[in-house]
Each structure stands twice: as C-alpha cells, then as structure tokens.
C-alpha cells in the first residue's frame, strides 16, 4: 500500500544572497519511490536547493518539510535517512577507503563492524576491493566516485541527493549505478538526481523538474513535458524552456574565429 504522506515538501521556498534572488518561491512535493531529474542551467539554484534541504544553508524563506518534519526546527535526526553525493566530490582523501566509509557509517549511527562488513562487500561489487585499505588520494576519479556512492547509501537511506553521480565512471559502472537507482526506487526510495547530461536524466527519471533563474519552469514526466506542445529530446526541450536557441550561431562564430589568421 502506498502512503500518501509526501517525503519532501517545499512551500514558497525563497533564498537570496544580497540583492540576487537565487530561489524564487519554489513549490515542490515529492512522494516515495520517485526518481526526480533535477535539471537547470548553471547557476539556476539547483545546488542551493540541495544545500538547504541538507541543512547546509539555514537561512531561507518559506517552508521545508522532510519526512513530514519542518527542518528549520533544528532537529538533525532527519539526516539519518538521507544520503548525499556532492558534486564537488569532497572526501577526506588522506584516509583509506576503509577508514572513510566506517567513519561515515558511524556518523550515521551504525556500528563500526557492521559498516565494515557491508562496505567490504560493496567495494567488491564495484571492483575496487584491492584498494580498500589504500588512501583515497591515490584513487582515480572513477574510484573516488564509487567510494562517494557507497558512502551515500551505506546506511540504507530513504532519500538520496545525487549530484552528477556518474562523473568519472566507466560505461560498465554507469550501467550498474543506473540499475541500482531503478531498483532502489522500486523499493520505495526517493532519489533527487541532478545532472547536466540530459540523455541520462531523460532515461532514468520518473519526473523532471526544471529550474532556471531560481524559478520552477517545468515539472512533470518526460511524456508530459513532450505533451506541452514541445517535442524532441529532453536536451531540445531544455533549450526551448530556457529560451536558448543560439547554439548554432555561437558554434558558427566559434569555428570562424578559430580559423582566422
């Protein structure tokens, strides 16, 4: 049976840095089992939203409820059910994968031995078990990304925020992760998927939320977006909605300048 209570609820969420309005009255309700493709041009306010939801930014206007609880009340325990892969790939690189993963697991309230057991199996599945006891600083970008993905899921969260989670992964690993996300959603987990690669977003998201200049421009499934007298791929829809039709012009000029002199 499906619960009707929303996992995440934003009401008139606004945020400004000085004069600049980064988020402008965003309304969004998310239910369990959904994969939300959260897209928008650079500087649209995507990461600001995620930072607010994770409690990294505490000053905002409007109302944010996660798991039915108002996060401005200052109770941090809701974070136990959240996993996060940041875009900037921040890790304590001087630690080994083992040390980092057990540390993060323990912060989520798990027992050290249990985290170690789970982490060991997970790194094996990702094919990086031989570097489990090596320092992360020696890892390639893809290996670091795998560690980040494991650290975001090791505590079995109900809500995941993933910011470009596939960056640096090889084609095979990309397939694994996409499959993992689909399976997690089928198990009732909610996933916020933020990316600039439209093909992936188009394929894996149940619902697409497009943000530009701090405003919600579109919200619906890919089919619904197509139905709103727009056509083509998500990439083309993205261009239309953000009012960008200059790409051919710009490309032409670019090539022209390259060939000058």
């Amino acid at each position: 049976m499906r619960r009707i209570e929303p996992i995440l609820e934003l009401k008139k969420l606004s945020k400004s840095f000085g004069e600049e309005n980064v988020l402008d009255e965003i309304d969004l309700t998310v239910y369990e089992g959904e994969i939300i493709g959260y897209i928008g041009p650079n500087g649209a306010g995507k990461s600001t939203t995620v930072k607010i939801l994770l409690g990294l930014i505490e000053e905002y206007e409007g109302n944010v409820r996660i798991f039915g609880e108002d996060i401005s009340k200052g109770n941090h325990t809701y974070k136990r059910r959240i996993g996060y892969v940041p875009e900037t790939a921040d890790l304590y690189e001087n630690l080994t994968a083992y040390e980092y993963l057990t540390f993060i697991g323990e912060l989520y309230g798990l027992e050290g031995e249990e985290v170690d057991r789970k982490a060991k199996e997970l790194v094996k599945l990702f094919g990086i078990e031989e570097v489990y006891h090596s320092r992360i600083s020696s890892f390639s970008k893809g290996m670091k990304q795998k560690v980040l993905i494991i650290s975001s899921m090791i505590h079995n969260p109900d809500l995941l925020f993933l910011d470009e989670p596939l960056s640096g992964l090889d084609a095979n690993s990309v397939m694994i992760v996409k499959e993992i996300l689909a399976k997690l959603a089928a198990e009732g987990k909610t996933i916020f998927y933020s990316s600039h690669i439209m093909e992936v977003v188009e394929k894996i998201s149940h619902r697409i939320v497009l943000l530009a200049n701090g405003k919600l421009l579109a919200d619906g499934s890919f089919e619904e977006l197509k139905g709103q007298n727009m056509d083509g791929t998500l990439e083309e829809i993205f261009n239309q909605l953000t009012g960008f039709d200059e790409h051919q012009n710009i490309a032409e000029k670019f090539v022209q300048i390259v060939q000058e002199g």
Binding site: L54, L56, K79, P86, E99, L107
Partner: protein, 536 residues
C-alpha cells in the same frame, strides 16, 4: 586507527562535554579521524601503491624542537629579579607572538576547512558537536605547542622563583592560550567579512612567511638575549599600555607578587583575567555569521584588473632572444607571483640573503672600527646573497598545479631550452636582481663606489651559479612540473649546492690581490656566461 594519547587526555573531560550537550562518542570519532589525517598531511602519493601499511608520522610533532629552542629566549627574563612587569610583559609578548603566528600558519587549515561542511554537516550530527570537535582539535595542538615552548621556562621559574611565581606564570599561560585561539578566530571572521577568501589566503601566506623569517631572527635573539642581562628596568605604567595585552599579564605579577597598587596596574590585571572570557563569548555569538562567510572561501568573486607590466617589453626583448623564451619568461613570472606555496618556501630565504651579508658585517663591527671595515674587502659578503639561488632554483621545479605541465610536452617545440632559459631569466630579473641591487647600493654607500666593478663580477659569477644549480639540481626536469610534496627528497642535494659560494668568494678574493685581476676575471666570467646560457 590508533587511540592517540591526546584522545585519552580528552577523555578525562568527558563529563564536561556531556554536560555541555555534546555527543561525546561522535566528537571523539571526528577527532580521531582528524588526528589520523594530520599525521598524513604530506601524502606519500607515489609510494602508496606498494606500501599498504601506513607509516604515519606527524610533521607537526617533528617540527616541535624548534619551538622548544625558541622557548629558551624566555629564560633570562624569568631570572630578572629587579622588576616583575617589565620582564614578564616581554615574556608574554614573545609567547603570544609565537603562539599567534604558528596558530595562523599551522592551524588555519583546521579553522577554515570547507570540506568539513559538506562531509560532516550533511550527516546526522549536531552543529554543537562538530564545533566542539573543531575547538578541541585546535586545543590539542595549542596545548602541545604551548607545553613545548614553556616547558623549560616553567621549570626554571619553579626552581629559581618559587611556587607562587610558577603557579601564576602557568595560569596566565592558559589564559593567553585561550585569548590567542579566540582572537585568531575572530580575526578571520573580520577578514572574511570584508574581504574574499583569496585575500584571507594571501594574508595567511604573509604571516607564514613572517613566521619563518622571525624564527631565523629568533635564533640570533636567543644568543643575544643573554647579553641584555644588566639593564635598568625602570617601569611606570602609562595609559597607552592598555593596548598591549602582554603588559596586562605582566601587571598581574606586580599586583599579586609585587604588592603594587597602582590604578593602571590593577586595571591591566583585571583585563588580563576578563578579556579572554569576553572574547570567547563574542566568538560563540559570532559563529553563525562566520560559517556563512566561510562560504566565500570556495567562491572567487573579485575580478582583478589587468595591471600594466612594470618591465617594458623592450627590456624583455633585450634579454630574451626568441619569442618562445619571452613567452616562458612571462609565464614563469606569473607562476612565481601567484603560487602561494612557492612564495612560502622562497621568501624566507629571500629575506635571509638580504640579511646575512649585514650580519657578517655587524659581527665584524664588534672587533674593528667602521672605517677599518669600509677599507676592507668585506663587501664580498654580498656573495652570501647568492644563498637564495639553490633554494629558489630547486623550488622552481615545483608547483601546486604541477599537473598542468603536460602542456610543455604537448607543445610543438624542438626542445625545452626556451622554457629553461625564460624561467631562469625571470627568476634572476624578478627575484635576484632587486635584492642584489639594493644590497649593491647600500654597499656602495658603505664601501665607496669603487667597488662597482667587483659587484659586476659578483653578478656575473652568480649568473653562472644559477645555470650550474639548475643543471645539477633539476637536470632535465621542467620547471613547475612536480608536486611540492616531493620537496623533502631533494633538500640534501640543495645543501651541497651551497658549497660553490665560498669557492666563488675565494676566487674573487684572490683576484683582488692581483693587478687587473678583477677586470680580467670579469671578462672570463662574461665569456663563460655567454657559452653556458646558450647551451642551456
């Protein structure tokens, strides 16, 4: 992960933390991770694959003996019995300076870590616990640092001045520790409020440079401080001394041990007691706005205006024959200017090369008169300015963005000679020339302008020395192409490169004893230069 002794020490205060509402087990976990990472601050990236067992060693702990030595400065002042406030203010002044500068240079990372925010604050951990971990982390190091500096002075005070003096000395040291930590943090807050992160990093960089220089000058002071012994210490409290925190702490001695009831002195000692706690209060109040401004560290906002180059392009054309060489000249010049790590490693030796020739002359002033020196050949001590050459030439090899050096290989160049030449010329023009010129002018004032030809010879000799250093230290390694973490492996080689300096000095000295020796030598050096730079 180890159970560090410092953690066991913190365990003693478990109840206090629990009382303050800190989640103690989590805070301990964070501290343990932080301490583990500190031991690996110099990551051995290249040995990692073969060595699975970590040989952790804390670089900070290894550098402690320097501080223990600097602590010796304090000893003679403690032994002074004529006055309390004067020597003790000096003691606390030196201590504050040492603590403050090392706090800024070594612990800024802890206070300004922005990774922490993304990693820790997104986890179900209370802010209070994270902040407590941060403060305790800094606290552990401050404790170790203070203990190292003051260990010998404290022992001396106990033996020579008795228990009350010792206790007062100790308790005020603790107050000063508090004050220094909080004031540094507040200082960062203020800087971040008005400037962006880049500015703050620059300021930290300059403090680090100042610290390295003052440690060297400190060595001189340690030796000299025993000479100050028989001075007269008349001291009268003045209102403006209220702005000198060390005086507050010296005043406390006057009140408690010297029975001084001067109004100023009493006010000072009250300040000594109150200000640390007031600043902690302000700090706690200001933490939220600090956290917000910390965001600035990750963003670069200011657009720098393009500045006109000081050197006309005609000059660069004159010294660099090919176009590629000129391009690399400008490139190297910008790298040297913008690289913080480079500045940190280079500027202290830069300052030293300026100071050492004078130290040599002043030492001689003790035994001979000024006119005697002016007639001597002591101007040749300018050779010691060349001491910066091996260090800097070696440092030219490193860069924080060493990964960008693939570009040198990818360029359609026949060989990398233009890069080598351009970089070395940029170093000589931008770093060596200013110091050398200033020294030359001062020396000509001291020794008369007749030494001009000798100075030209020194310049020519050092220009040969630059090429030799580069060849023997760096070989074919292109500039800016290795990580600074590799530096330690090469320092041995660098010390060997100091040996030619006395040799060059000796040859020059020998030439001055011969008629036309110097001018002949100059011609020879010129020709050698001409050949060497071509072959580079």
């Amino acid at each position: 992960m180890k159970n560090y002794p410092s953690l066991k020490f913190v365990d003693l205060f478990k109840r206090l933390f629990l009382f303050l509402g800190v989640d103690y087990p989590v805070m301990r976990k964070i501290l343990q991770i932080k301490l583990t990472m500190d031991r690996r601050r110099v990551p051995t990236v290249f040995n990692e694959q073969n060595k699975k067992i970590n040989n952790d060693s804390n670089q900070f702990l290894k550098s402690l003996w320097v501080y223990a030595f600097l602590g010796l400065i304090l000893v003679p002042f403690i032994l002074i019995r004529d006055s309390y406030i004067f020597p003790m203010s000096l003691v606390y002044g030196v201590l504050m300076f040492l603590l403050m500068t090392s706090m800024i240079s070594d612990f800024s990372q802890v206070l300004l870590d922005i990774r922490d925010k993304n990693i820790l604050n997104t986890k179900p951990v209370e802010k209070r616990t994270i902040n407590a971990a941060k403060i305790v982390h800094v606290g552990i190091y401050m404790f170790i640092l203070t203990a190292t500096i003051t260990m010998i002075p404290l022992t001396v005070s106990l033996l020579a001045r008795g228990v009350p003096f010792f206790l007062l000395f100790l308790s005020q040291i603790i107050l000063i520790d508090l004050l220094v930590v909080v004031v540094t943090a507040l200082l960062y807050m203020v800087i971040l409020k008005f400037f962006d992160g880049e500015k703050l990093k620059d300021i930290i960089n300059y403090v680090q440079i100042a610290l390295s220089l003052s440690i060297v000058v400190g060595y001189q002071l340690v030796i000299r401080s025993f000479e100050f012994f028989n001075l007269d210490f008349g001291f009268h409290a003045q209102w403006w001394q209220i702005f000198l925190p060390p005086v507050w702490y010296g005043a406390m001695f006057e009140v408690l041990l010297g029975q001084n009831r001067d109004v100023y002195i009493i006010v000072f000692s009250i300040l000594a007691l109150i200000v640390p706690f007031v600043s902690i209060f302000i700090y706690i109040k200001a933490i939220p706005s600090f956290e917000r401004n910390l965001e600035k560290l990750s963003s670069q906002s200011t657009v720098k205006k393009k500045r006109k180059p000081l050197l006309g392009s005609w000059f660069v054309k004159l010294i660099c024959s090919s176009k590629e060489e000129r391009t690399f000249f400008f490139f190297a010049q910008k790298m040297m200017k913008n690289e913080r790590q480079f500045k940190l490693k280079v500027y202290p030796s830069f300052g030293l090369s300026f100071i050492i020739p004078f130290i040599l002359i002043f030492n001689e002033l003790r035994t001979s008169s000024f006119t005697e020196i002016a007639d001597s050949r002591y101007y040749l001590s300018i050779y010691f300015a060349a001491m910066m050459i091996p260090t800097i030439v070696l440092m030219l090899r490193y860069s924080q963005s060493h990964k960008g050096s693939w570009i040198f290989r990818a360029l359609p160049l026949e060989n990398l000679s233009p890069l080598y030449r351009g970089t070395l010329k940029a170093f000589m023009v931008k770093l060596y020339f200013p110091v050398f010129t200033l020294l030359s002018i001062l020396f000509m004032v001291i020794f008369s302008v007749n030494i001009f030809l000798d100075l030209v010879v020194v310049w020519l000799a050092s220009s040969i020395f630059v090429v030799l250093c580069f060849k023997s230290v760096n070989g074919k390694v292109p500039p800016f192409s290795e990580s600074f973490e590799m530096t330690q492996q090469e320092t041995g080689k660098m010390f060997l490169m100091f040996l030619p300096i006395p040799l060059l000095f000796g040859i020059h000295f020998w030439m001055t004893t011969m008629e036309y020796g110097v001018i002949g030598y100059a011609v020879v050096l010129f020709v050698v230069n001409w050949i060497l730079w071509r072959k580079l």
